[in-house]
């Protein structure tokens, strides 16, 4: 009874917290959830990058209560292998003519395979996901067990819905982030949040079982809690919130470590601003934040080397901070070459750089921008080329407007410069890690696999840039541009869905 009453009290507290969120934020959350839930039904099972590995990790956690040992054994359960075979997964990826299961005999063959191979317990063999922390997968174990059926595809559908909740949480965090930075213009909170809610690549990943979803949520929350503490002042509670967001991120995916230097810098600046007459309170707030961030991570490290026996404190995860990058050869790649590669991966080559790694069009467009507009499936279907060209023109215009917006709002931005310095280091840290690992993979003879989704931990900044672009216009016209951009995002999302339907069912 005591436990039940505590659960009820917890539920009531959650409800109160939910009600404290502005109504518009709650509506953005619901809109994002419904939109991503639609995506989760539209995308056939396992047709999202690495979903097979993330599902396998979650299934192993759900079945055994511990993360995979990363043994040399089979990567997936017998049940998952059967599903992949029956879905003709290997034949569909990369083959735009192949549809997968679209006839009744194929469906019957799939069901027969699943009936003959019911074992959901795999060996926990190494995949691109197994060296990541287990928090996302432990959370996904909840819908796995709540699923009304043991059927792997039903479980996958429920787990995808849970991911959709995380995506909706990310949108809500972006809303709250904008609310802190633009307190005088409430419509910008909604416009920015809806731009993220209808970003089709974000929705595509959000609709799948993918550890990135918790990473995006934790990143957006980090941007939000830092902004909140900056505007309202650091307190012990806000310090704990920052620590909580950082812990969530570090236990979600190790990519989050790339954001830590910037977040740490912002935290130090917050403590400096809160120092007052004595340092004691300020240090206490800082210590609270660090303690809340570090304690769960320390427990994870301890469990890795003791109970779970996963080899090393971070289970070998530091070697692949961005997922899907192949084994890395650390020898033979000079720092000079690495720096050039990492720079050219994001920015135009500078005249003094000796290496020309991307002789054609810059990856800024071909990889990052086009990938954000839409490289769907296992990167095997896209929009027609004119869509990317037209979007590029729009990006030029929006970038110019954003600069004008910054100039117009310079007086409001000036007090936030310290915060933005932290955000800049966070973004730079992420680019540096992606660039470093891509360089090591590409120049070390492995297979580089950078994808636009690796930048999605910065979705809050994307929303901010859009909002700043709208603020470049006079007061009466800014909401018009905001509305037009949101409708454009909705249209983009709609046509991405119809593109997906034509790819797999047409």
């Amino acid at each position: 009874m005591n436990v039940l009453s505590r659960i009820a009290a917890g539920g009531r507290a959650c409800l109160r917290a939910w009600r404290r969120i502005p109504r518009a934020g709650r509506v953005c959350f619901v809109i994002a959830f419904v939109n991503v839930a639609i995506w989760s039904v539209v995308i056939p099972p396992f047709q999202v990058p690495d979903e097979i590995s993330h599902f396998a990790y979650a299934q192993y956690v759900a079945e055994t209560g511990s993360p995979p040992p990363q043994s040399g054994g089979l990567q997936y359960s017998q049940q998952e292998y059967a599903a992949l075979l029956g879905l003709e997964w290997g034949a569909v990826i990369g083959n735009p003519n192949a549809r997968g299961v679209i006839t009744v005999p194929q469906d019957q063959a799939l069901r027969a395979l699943l009936r003959e191979n019911p074992n959901p317990l795999g060996a926990g063999g190494t995949t691109v996901a197994t060296n990541q922390p287990p928090l996302y997968y432990a959370l996904e174990a909840i819908p796995y067990w709540l699923s009304p059926s043991n059927d792997i595809l039903t479980r996958l559908a429920f787990m995808r819905l849970f991911s959709a909740l995380m995506a909706a949480g990310t949108v809500l965090a972006v809303f709250l982030f904008l609310r802190e930075l633009m307190p005088g213009t409430p419509w910008t909170w909604t416009a920015g949040a809806l731009m993220v809610a209808f970003q089709p690549m974000f929705d595509f990943i959000g609709a799948s079982v993918q550890g990135d979803n918790l990473l995006y949520l934790a990143s957006a929350l980090t941007f939000f809690v830092l902004a909140r503490a900056w505007r309202r002042g650091l307190t012990v509670g806000r310090g704990a919130a920052i620590g909580g967001a950082l812990a969530l991120g570090m236990l979600a995916k190790l990519t989050f470590l790339a954001l830590m230097p910037g977040a740490g810098l912002a935290l130090l600046a917050l403590a400096w601003r809160a120092r007052g007459p004595g340092w004691q309170l300020s240090l206490r707030m800082l210590a609270t934040s660090i303690g809340v961030a570090v304690a769960p991570v320390a427990l994870y490290v301890l469990l890795n080397v003791t109970v779970w026996g996963r080899g090393s404190p971070l289970a070998g995860g530091l070697a692949s901070v961005t997922s899907a990058v192949g084994p890395i050869s650390t020898g033979g790649v000079s720092w000079h070459a690495t720096l050039d590669y990492a720079w050219e991966l994001f920015f135009p080559r500078l005249p003094f750089m000796n290496h020309v790694y991307f002789p054609g069009e810059s990856p800024l467009w071909t990889l990052w921008l086009n990938g954000s507009i839409g490289h769907f499936g296992i990167l095997d279907y896209t929009f027609p080329a004119w869509v990317y060209n037209d979007f590029r023109d729009l990006v030029y215009a929006l970038a110019a407007l954003s600069v004008i917006g910054v100039i117009r709002l310079r007086h409001a931005i000036r007090p936030l410069l310290g915060l933005f310095a932290g955000y800049t280091v966070m973004a730079g840290g992420l680019l540096a890690v992606i660039g470093y690992l891509s360089a090591q993979a590409a120049l070390g003879g492995s297979y580089p696999f950078p994808q636009a989704r690796y930048l999605f931990p910065l979705l809050a900044l994307y929303a901010l840039a859009i909002v700043l672009a709208t603020r470049a216009l006079p007061r009466r016209w800014a909401p018009v541009l905001g509305g037009l951009l949101v409708v454009l995002a909705m249209a983009h999302n709609l046509f991405a869905e119809t593109l997906t339907i034509s790819r797999y069912y047409g």
Partner: protein
């Protein structure tokens, strides 16, 4: 603000027109495939020979097949297509006449249509003439290729793409999409899923637009 309403209204109208134009475009539509790509010429058949490929599914709405044919510079021979069900009964036939030009994107061979519902079975390609020809596909080993040429196992598998009759808009394809959408997923989904998803998406658009207009004005 009226200007916000007008701008959003015009943007929604433009989207709706784009959507209607996209949905109304007519083109040949796929009926399925054998999940084999065609990076190489994977199988060869001597003139007068027959290639039979098992583990196939003939979709009920397939009115033709597309296969990539290599003739080594010779004139295209007649190629007859025969699809047999698991009991060995012929359920669909078709033929490519001799002398047709080789199409680098694959030649289309019409099947007798309609031929009944989707069925599992074996596809046989009867090659006329005297010269060897090759079919585009993938180099599978004999253990899983399920291909026999003149009764002998052969490595490789032929890529087969099925197409529906005539040209159709997406509106005309909705019935087929509806059925396909419920397959290869959790058993909780079915023929009801696509209509419900479409309705929910429509409701989401209305709700999001209404909310947006209210917030911006």
């Amino acid at each position: 603000m009226a200007r916000v309403r007008i701008a959003i209204g015009l943007a929604v109208l433009a989207t709706a027109i784009g959507f209607l134009v996209d949905m109304s475009g007519s083109a040949p539509r796929g009926a399925g495939d054998d999940s084999v790509s065609r990076p190489v010429f994977a199988n060869t058949v001597p003139g007068g020979g027959v290639l039979c490929q098992g583990s196939m599914v003939l979709p009920g709405d397939a009115a033709s097949i597309n296969i990539l044919i290599g003739t080594y510079g010779h004139r295209m021979p007649r190629i007859a297509v025969q699809f047999k069900n698991l009991h060995g009964r012929t359920v669909a036939t078709g033929a490519l006449p001799a002398g047709v030009t080789v199409d680098p994107l694959g030649n289309r061979i019409a099947l007798g249509y309609p031929h009944g519902p989707s069925v599992a079975g074996t596809l046989c390609l009867h090659v006329g003439g005297t010269h060897q020809i090759a079919f585009g596909g993938e180099p599978f080993p004999t253990t899983i290729s399920a291909v026999r040429v003149n009764g002998q196992l052969q490595a490789g598998k032929v890529s087969v793409i099925y197409t529906r009759p005539g040209r159709e808009s997406w509106w005309q394809l909705l019935g087929a999409l509806d059925q396909r959408f419920g397959l290869g997923k959790s058993t909780i989904f079915g023929n009801w899923t696509l209509p419900v998803v479409a309705l929910v998406a429509l409701a989401l658009w209305f709700a999001a637009l209404r909310f947006l207009v209210r917030e911006l004005t």
